[in-house]
């Protein structure tokens, strides 16, 4: 027999925030993220124990600097996956944004125009995808697959060759950084990435749009019957993911000081892997944007360790990521089975 108050209320928390420590048992929703955190800590410990200089400011700072664009992509992907969808186009859109930026800058268009424009290119492709998914009920997989091909083709149409970026404003922006305490310096790209994370966090947790994203992932039919704006939200998540990809392209162009049509090949997989390792369920409804950031850092850390190891070849990165993905997916599956 089930008791009605199956989860007794403890002492009422004055702030009402979900205090994890209040109950002995950890809220199940945080379990995957905690797993990611454990993996991250383990990697840090292993790296720190094996190599000198591993736990240095430089290594950690580089982790953010090298992966700023991936953080932005993963944030956008989190929105899509939370609704139960998927976006395969982000790698190509990133390339398109970078190539467009480099091309326009070379043509002499001022950076102040180019930067918002290329981000908008991403939003526009996201809007097209959203319309295909929502209006024509095309599966997200196919719709974003088409967008992926479309963006990649456009890249080559604009410029098959790598275009260096030497626009002064752009370069200045790319190389700008600021002191952030101790030996820490914050580069512009990291600041942008962190700002995106903050905005995403706000959107997901403090707006009705964000709550609707979670509700759709929990059950689209339920969300509709609850009277939530399902259609608008579904289109919007693809716009967000596209915008993030556009922004990611900009960050990558700042990172590489060039625009090249072949950048970002397979990067959508990295983004998806980061989101999944960050504890977001691919079935939708469960996950946190901070988890995705943690997922990106785990991926980056694996790469760093492989580099530090020296004798280990780079392909181990992929194998380890695959293995990690397997562990997480199987664990998630077991969790889901236990629940039902």
């Amino acid at each position: 027999m089930t008791t009605l108050a199956s989860s007794r209320r403890g002492a009422p928390s004055p702030d009402g925030l979900p205090s994890v420590g209040r109950r002995l048992r950890l809220d199940r929703r945080y379990l995957p993220v905690v797993g990611t955190l454990v993996v991250f800590a383990l990697l840090l410990v292993v790296g720190g124990a094996r190599y000198d200089n591993f736990l240095s400011v430089g290594v950690i700072a580089n982790l953010f600097i090298n992966n700023a664009f991936l953080i932005v992509l993963a944030v956008g992907m989190t929105f899509v996956i939370l609704t139960g969808g998927i976006d395969l186009s982000v790698g190509s859109v990133l390339a398109l944004s970078g190539v467009t930026a480099a091309y326009l800058l070379r043509a002499g268009v001022p950076a102040g125009v180019v930067i918002p424009l290329v981000v908008l290119v991403g939003s526009l492709i996201g809007l097209l995808v959203g319309a295909m998914v929502h209006v024509f009920e095309v599966q997200p997989f196919i719709a974003t697959l088409a967008a992926m091909f479309f963006a990649r083709g456009l890249c080559f149409l604009i410029a098959p060759e790598s275009i260096p970026i030497d626009d002064e404003t752009f370069v200045a922006l790319a190389s700008w950084d600021t002191w952030a305490g101790g030996q820490w310096r914050l580069t512009s790209s990291v600041m942008i990435a962190l700002a995106v994370v903050a905005v995403a966090f706000y959107l997901l947790h403090y707006t009705q749009f964000g709550r609707t994203v979670y509700a759709i992932g929990g059950g689209e039919q339920s969300a509709r019957l609850m009277g939530l704006p399902v259609a608008r939200t579904k289109v919007l998540v693809y716009v967000i993911s596209g915008t993030c990809a556009g922004l990611g392209g900009l960050l990558f162009a700042m990172f590489s000081r060039s625009g090249y049509s072949l950048t970002g090949v397979g990067m959508e997989l990295d983004a998806i892997a980061a989101v999944v390792i960050g504890g977001t369920l691919l079935t939708g409804g469960t996950g946190f944007v901070l988890g995705s950031v943690l997922g990106v850092l785990v991926l980056g850390l694996i790469q760093t360790i492989v580099t530090f190891e020296g004798t280990l070849s780079s392909w181990w990165t992929k194998i380890v990521i695959g293995a990690l993905l397997l562990v997480f997916v199987v664990l998630q599956r077991l969790l889901a089975l236990r629940r039902s």
Binding site: L4, R8, R9, L17, R28, R29, R211, A215, M226, R339
Partner: protein, 523 residues
Amino acid sequence: MTSSEAGATGSPPSDGVEDARPVVEMTGISIEFPGVKALDGVDLRLLPGEVHALMGENGAGKSTLIKALTGVYGIDSGEILVDGEPHRFSGPGEAQAAGIATVYQEVNLCENLTVAENIMLGNEPRRLGAIDWPRTRRRAAEHLATMGLDIDPASSLGSHSIAVQQLVAISRAMVVDAKVLILDEPTSSLDADEVARLFSVVRRLRDQGVAILFVSHFLEQVFELSDRMTVLRNGVRVGEYRTSELTRTELVSRMIGRSMEVLEDLEVRTEHAVATTQGAPFVQAVGLGRRGAVQAFDLDVHEGEVVGLAGLLGSGRTEVARLLAGADRADTGTLRVRGALARLRNPRAAISRKIAFSSEDRKAEGVVADLTVRENIVLGLQAERGWLRRLPDRQVDEIVQRYVEALNIRPANPDALLRNLSGGNQQKVLLARWLATAPELLILDEPTRGIDVGAKAEIQRLVSDLASRGMAVLFISAELEEVVRLSHRIAVMRDRQKVAELTNTDTVGVDDVVELIASGGKR
């Protein structure tokens, strides 16, 4: 349907709540789907501060009526007045805004979110544009308190039982200050304590003046909770009654009605009734049960015997069938097939013991719509052989032709896609699928529902033929006349229990079964 049946509302009542102006007044509602008149001029009045039960068997039009009210379906004709104002909602959102909230049988909330989030979703208090979580949780907690629910608003909804989720859904409905609360089979998966808890909440809301439309298949609950009821049958309103003025037997017979067609050529029940129940049974269930589905029951079916399962929708009759067919696993009791202990872990285990099961949900669990009639007929047989050993074409043709002829499947084209056949012919194809596997026990759950009279008669005749040739048959139908006419023995189900079993004789009639259902086996 007749004027005498609707008599309870004939004169304007003068006492109590019925003086009040109805919150909702639906008049002459008709909805037609292709080929089906789902609702035909139905009226429904909901008064403030009453629990109004909406009663009817499968296909009576209850869901359609609710969906018409909440704007899920458009109506073809009729009028919906809410607070005296005509309304036509285009969706659940609009209906909610007008104060009509619905709590569905399958809780339509998000299990991945917290209790507080589910209650407040879409109505969260804001501060500077952002959701004010402390206030959101406080307000959610207040709503839970008015429901008498002592749970942590920050806990995840999925961690609570269905009963709690049901109450959370009601809390959500009350956030928008609903004037009308529709409860669509809220108790179907609750146990007795949980039901009591739900009812106390419902009564409190009623006392606050909310009009509650209550749909349930549990007779006891309806009589316990409701003030008035509207009975539907086949898309037509049978009548509106005060619960206190209606006996259980009257209610059941109004819900079931009387079948129109009579088949003179079926005289089976008297002939075999005595002879066949001798000897060891083909299947013997002892204390078989499944938590949340059906309470432990005993049941035998002998060779050459038709055992009927009588009971209302949701009485557990389908659940019995599913346990015997391996579609669900039993968690208590034993099942013996020809005396040998059988643990049916999946349908294949049952099939290998020569038990065939035709599900009542033809569309979801029977028909493979995009395959041809031929493929659908041989599917069961082929599945048994595995994919490597394909049935030879000649044998397939022979089987298909035999059953198309024997069951008079129309069109007689084995290459037609099953989706293009009528319901009755789809049912015959499914029967053919099972007969082709040469079963020794045939379980038919509502084989005649939603099919035309001719096909119905053919299937009934087939059932008695099969039994007379030695097959054991378990026959389930919402139409009691059919059950009484075909069965040698009848097991009566009610509220997820087997409450009685009677041997069919000349003197047994539909009325006896109705009485057993209404009284719960106590005659």
